[in-house]
Structure formats: structure tokens, C-alpha cells
């Protein structure tokens, strides 16, 4: 139990709510920058604590999991939250210097903070329904941000983005309903435990595919990516930079979490037959789009899709090394993708266009921008010593170790395509004769501010690359944590004993799977044998206890507040007694 876990959610929430009341831009800018800095500090501290003390949990109102709302920070989510905070700081700094005043005044900063609430909440939640709620929060804020300014093209693309994601959200709810119907719980650790103890008879695979579609839409997995390129090239550049870096990675994080913790019943089908081909198609289709375009932002938007393929690939390979590679790769993308978009934004401010055919020679007039873009492009393609190299090399090593040589070959070929797309941007936009307008002087305060924001992220990418040893150690530990469902369950549920609440699998007959399907089959849990009601309907003690011990029940449940947080409900006999089945 640690309040630090909830801090990355509460901080932007309070900031965003407070910012609505101030219409003065200086206040809005400075408060959001300070909040972003505080966000970096808080999330770095959270990461440090998760690293030293293990998985951190937070139970709202001290109601123990799986009954209350629980937030869980493990190594993966802590790392993603930290990377998000760094990206948010740079993007906000860039917005202060580059965004049109007209847009800034339309509640840009509050909406951005609410977006952060949704993103951090999705990374930290330990409950699949709360994931839906945070997802919706994030999407609502993102609709507002993409449509900010209200140009016709923006409105049109936002509408498509919103409609497609709204349908995906409906499917999300359907998946939640399926999980609740089958397992009777929505807490992810509790779900994982029940999934391990039971054989769903194929239902879990159906639900897994449903969630694959949902998260695939959010992560822009081909063929569900159609909303992404146009809406990303329509929105204001700082917004799109943050979306390209962080928003699509939230979908990947959800896939990473659910396909390592929950949907592991039939990896031969869900991972190998579904995810792996989709990953390769995503890589290839994305890069084909990127190579074909001549617009700075569109090339980058299609490249987002292509890079998503690498992360899906890591999840699909489903080995410790591959998952570690995915974790590195996601953090790398959260840092690097915004840089590229911010470079596009700076180039747009300077030349007044994102069409590469109408700009040129930025290297001559704005050398620092060109240098930073080149560094970020190298990082994206995977040139050492930048972070991209180590993410890719880990993934390729994992593929070779898993004897998936063909997929490794495809991934490396797609890397060449990425290189070509980046060279194309550099050749058309930065090299050659000075061409097109120059609206911003390279010594102006505005340009320096933009460069500073970009430099923060390039520095972060370089630091990740130079500290690859430490990064890899961290990612390997994160992957072990992700793949070891038992540790996650233990960290979240503690000594929670489903039998003590008459909640053991099979206790409540659920018609969809039938009692036979829910029979416990292992001794993975420390459920005492005599209290394991295998396939038997709920003991009548569940409700019989209510009237028989009314006096104990109410104070008992009050005491429980600080019990399981400390770890062992058994130390407090008054806590567990009122709800224990009569059979024990």
C-alpha cells in the first residue's frame, strides 16, 4: 500500500481542474510546466521505489483487492509512466513556445492534463473496468485536443477518430461483460488467479480476440489503423507529437498486460496464429505508407503504425527476452516519436508548411534543428548509441532465439524502409538549396525554446542508449515480472483467500461455462484442500451468516480496512470470521 502510486493520476487531475478557472495564459503555462516537472519527479520516485521494494499497490478507501478499486505499479507501468512524464514535459515546453495563442486559449492546457490523467490511470490501474474508465477519459480529452482550433479538416478527422474509437469502446464493454460472466470478477490479479485455476473451455480465447480488436484499434494495429494517419496529420503538432509517442502505446501497454497476465491459456492460437502475422502486417503496411508520402507529418504518422508492429511482434514472440525488448522499445518510442513530430512542428513554424516538396535547406539556415532531427531519426532507425538500437537488437535476438528467422528478416527489412523514409525527409526538407519561406529566425526566443524542448527528448534517448546495460537489466526484470503472473497476483491480492469469502472458482455456478468447466485443477494457490468447493454450489453459509452474526459483521468489516493491506488477514480473526463459509 503506497499513496505514491496514485500521485501520477491525482497530480494532473488537480492541475487540470485548477487550470480551468484561470484564463490567463501566463498562469496556465507556468502551472502546467511546474506540474509536468513535478510529474517527472513523482514518477521517477515511484519507479525507484518499485525497483527497490517491489510491486507497489494502492487500494482506494483501503478496501482490499479484489473488492475495492486497486492501482498497481510494477516495473513496466512505472517505467511507462516515467517516460510519459518526460514526453509530457517536453511537449508542454514546446507548446508554450510554438502553439498559436488562439489554440492555447481554448483550454489546451487543462485538456492536456486530463489526457495525462487518462494515460497514467491506464498504466496504473489493476482493474479491467477501471481501465475502460481511464481509457474513456483519455479518449475524451484526446478528441478535444485533436479538434482544437476547429479547422474543417480537423473536425472531419476527429469525428472519424471519435466514431471508430467509440465503437471500439463498446466492444471493450462487451469484453468486460464476457470476463465478468465467465469469472465473476474484474480485478486483473483475481482474474489471473481464476484463469489459472480453471479451464474456460475456449471462452477465454473468444474474449481474448475481442480485447485484441479493442486494443488493436487503440494501438492502430493493421487493419484497424485507418483512423490514425489522417487524424494525426490534422491535429495541432504538439498534440500529435504526444499522441504519436504516448497514446498509441497505451493500447500496446494494455495488450502487453492482458496477453501476458490474462490471455495465456492458448498462446499457440492467440499469440502465434493471431498476433504474430498481425504484427508483421502492421510493420510492413505502416512502412509502405510512410515511404509513399511526401508530407512530413504523414510520413511520421504512418511510421507510428509501422513501429507498433515491432511491439506487437515482441508480445507475440512471448519469451522473456522478447517481452523485455518490447518494454525497452515502448519506452524508446514514447521518447523518440514526439521528437520527430516536434521537429516536424518546428519545421512547420519555420517554413509554414509540412509538405516536404515546398521546403528545403533547413540544414543551412537552422542547423541545430537539422542536427537534432538527424539524431532522432538515427534513434528511430536503430543506430547505436541511441535507444532504438538496443530495443531492436533485443527483439531480433529474441526472434532468433525463438527460431523465428523469417520474422526477424521482415523486421530488419522494415528497418531499412524506416531508414529510407527518414532519409527522404532529411534529403527533401533539410538538405539542398535553401527553399521556401523562413518565418522564424534561428536566434529568436521562440526557436530556441522549441529546440530546448526537442533537445530534452534527444538527450533522454541518448541517455537510454548509453545506459543500455542498466536499461536492459531493468527491462529484463520487468519482463520477468510480466510473465510471472503468480508474483503479480501475490503482490495485489496478498493473502486473499477466495475460499474465505466463498468465492473460490466454482462456488457460484455460472451457466456459460458450467460447473465442470470451472473445476480447479492445480495447487497454484494456497487454498486449503478442505475449503475448496470444487464445482459445488455456494455454501449456504455465505448468506446464512448474515442474519446469524449481524452484530459481528459490521464492526468486522470495519476492522478489515487495515488488515489485508498489512498482508495477513488471518492475524485478525474478527476480520475474516463473519464472511467465512460455514463449512470451515
Amino acid at each position: 500500500m503506497s499513496n505514491l502510486v496514485v500521485a501520477p493520476i491525482v497530480l494532473p487531475l488537480v492541475t487540470g481542474a485548477a487550470l480551468i478557472f484561470s484564463r490567463r495564459l501566463t498562469v496556465q503555462r507556468s502551472v502546467s510546466l511546474v506540474a509536468a516537472l513535478a510529474g517527472v519527479a513523482v514518477s521517477a520516485r515511484l519507479t525507484a521505489r518499485v525497483w527497490t521494494e517491489g510491486v507497489q499497490t494502492f487500494y482506494a478507501a483501503n478496501l482490499p483487492a479484489p473488492f475495492g478499486i486497486s492501482l498497481v505499479a510494477d516495473l513496466t507501468s512505472a517505467a511507462f509512466v516515467t517516460a510519459t512524464a518526460v514526453a509530457a514535459l517536453a511537449v508542454l515546453l514546446f507548446s508554450v513556445y510554438s502553439l498559436e495563442r488562439r489554440l492555447e486559449e481554448q483550454y489546451y492546457y487543462p485538456a492536456f492534463q486530463f489526457l495525462l490523467v487518462g494515460v497514467n490511470g491506464s498504466f496504473l490501474t489493476g482493474d479491467i473496468f477501471n481501465l475502460f474508465v481511464f481509457f474513456e477519459l483519455m479518449l475524451m480529452a484526446s478528441y478535444v485536443l485533436v479538434a482544437l482550433g476547429g479547422r474543417p479538416a480537423q473536425l472531419r478527422e476527429t469525428l472519424k477518430y471519435a466514431l471508430i474509437n467509440n465503437v471500439a469502446s463498446a466492444f471493450f464493454l462487451l469484453g468486460v461483460a464476457g470476463l465478468y460472466r465467465t469469472y465473476g470478477t474484474l480485478n486483473m490479479a483475481d482474474l489471473a488467479m481464476r484463469i489459472q485455476l480453471s479451464d474456460s473451455g475456449g471462452w477465454l480465447t473468444v474474449i481474448a480476440v475481442l480485447f485484441l480488436v479493442v486494443f488493436g484499434v487503440k494501438a492502430a494495429m493493421v487493419p484497424l489503423h485507418v483512423w490514425l494517419p489522417e487524424s494525426y496529420s490534422a491535429g495541432p503538432t504538439p498534440v500529435v507529437a504526444f499522441f504519436g509517442g504516448v497514446l498509441s502505446k497505451v493500447g500496446i501497454y494494455c495488450l502487453l498486460r492482458t496477453f501476458t497476465l490474462l490471455f495465456v491459456e492458448d498462446p499457440a492460437f492467440t499469440h502465434e496464429q493471431l498476433l504474430l502475422p498481425l504484427a508483421l502486417v502492421t510493420m510492413v503496411a505502416g512502412i509502405v505508407g510512410a515511404v509513399a508520402k511526401t508530407d512530413f507529418k504523414r510520413i511520421l504518422a504512418y511510421d507510428v503504425v509501422s513501429q507498433i508492429g515491432y511491439m506487437l511482434w515482441g508480445i507475440a514472440l512471448y519469451t522473456p527476452l522478447a517481452v523485455a525488448g518490447t518494454v525497452i522499445f515502448v519506452v524508446h518510442q514514447i521518447i523518440v516519436k514526439p521528437v520527430l513530430f516536434l521537429c516536424a512542428g518546428a519545421a512547420e513554424r519555420v517554413t509554414g508548411t509540412t509538405n516536404l516538396k515546398r521546403m528545403g535547406g533547413l540544414l543551412t539556415t537552422h542547423g541545430s534543428l537539422a542536427a537534432l532531427f538527424l539524431a532522432a531519426a538515427f534513434s528511430l532507425v536503430g543506430v547505436p548509441p541511441f535507444s532504438g538500437f538496443f530495443g531492436k537488437v533485443t527483439l531480433v535476438r529474441a526472434a532468433v532465439a525463438a527460431e523465428r528467422y523469417a520474422t526477424a528478416a521482415v523486421a530488419l527489412a522494415v528497418s531499412l524502409g524506416t531508414l529510407y523514409a527518414m532519409i527522404k525527409i532529411f534529403r527533401l526538407g533539410f538538405w539542398g538549396e535553401v527553399f521556401g519561406d523562413r518565418r522564424v529566425n534561428k536566434d529568436s526566443r521562440e526557436f530556441r525554446g522549441m529546440i530546448a524542448a526537442i533537445a530534452i527528448l534527444v538527450g533522454a534517448s541518448l541517455a537510454m542508449g548509453l545506459g543500455a546495460e542498466a536499461v536492459f537489466t531493468y527491462a529484463a526484470a520487468a519482463a520477468d515480472q510480466l510473465l510471472d503472473g503468480q508474483a503479480y497476483i501475490q503482490a495485489v491480492l496478498g493473502d486473499f483467500d477466495p475460499a474465505a469469502y466463498a468465492l473460490a472458482p466454482g462456488a457460484a455456478p455460472r451457466p456459460l461455462t458450467g460447473p465442470a468447466g470451472m473445476a480447479p485443477q492445480g495447487d497454484a494457490l494456497s487454498v486449503p484442500a478442505e475449503s475448496e468447493p470444487a464445482g459445488v454450489p455456494a455454501p449456504s453459509g455465505d448468506q446464512g451468516n448474515g442474519p446469524s452474526a449481524p452484530a459481528e459483521a459490521v464492526p468486522g468489516s470495519g476492522v478489515r480496512g487495515d488488515g489485508p493491506a498489512g498482508g495477513d488477514p488471518r492475524e485478525e480473526p474478527g476480520a475474516a470470521a463473519p464472511v467465512e463459509p460455514a463449512g470451515r
Binding site: 475502460f132 471519435a162 466514431l163 463498446a170 461483460a177 456459460l512
Partner: protein, 116 residues
Amino acid sequence: MNGLEVLVALTVGVVVGCSVYLMLTRELLRVILGSILMGYGINLALFMSGGVQEGAPPILNHDSAAPMMDPVPQSLILTAIVIGLGVFALLLALGFRTFEEHGTSDVGALTGVEHE
């Protein structure tokens, strides 16, 4: 699976079918309504995710020997409805602004940028 469950399942099917029909039309408002209606249909499915139950209210010292009801689906559907309402309002506003800016509510006229 009892009769009521079959009935609700059919209702969900009909509602979602209607929503898909609406989403396939070319009128912007209908598409928006369809996407919202799909959410409502699935809310109904979510409501049934606890199964059809008969029982006492889920209060611990309620004076009844009957099994207790599961309150969780009701809280889930309530949350989902509130979120759906927020999204509905936002989609309508967005749709109206799009209609104002483009002067058309024909989805076919709202395709790509580059193909103009």
C-alpha cells in the same frame, strides 16, 4: 440459461443490429446515433453479465435466507451509461460543428484530404 436470458440476448442482438444499420447509412447524424446505440445495446449485455438472478438485496444483515443478488453489474452499467452520455454530447457537438464547417451531412462527402 433460462428464457429471460434468451430474451435479453435477442434484444441486445436487435439493438446492435439496428445500430449497425444506422452506422451504414450516409447521414452523419444517423451514424453518430448508431455508434451511441451500439453502446447502449452492449450496456444491456453488461447488465446481464451477472446472469438472471432472483434473490435478496445484497445487504449483509438483511433478514432473508435467499441467496443475495450480485450488485456489481448494476454499478458497471451505471458507470458505462454516464460515460456514454458524455461521449454522446461530445459526438453531437463535433458532428454539428463538422456539418457547419463543411455544409454537408453526407458521410460520402467527408472522405480524405488529398483526394480533393
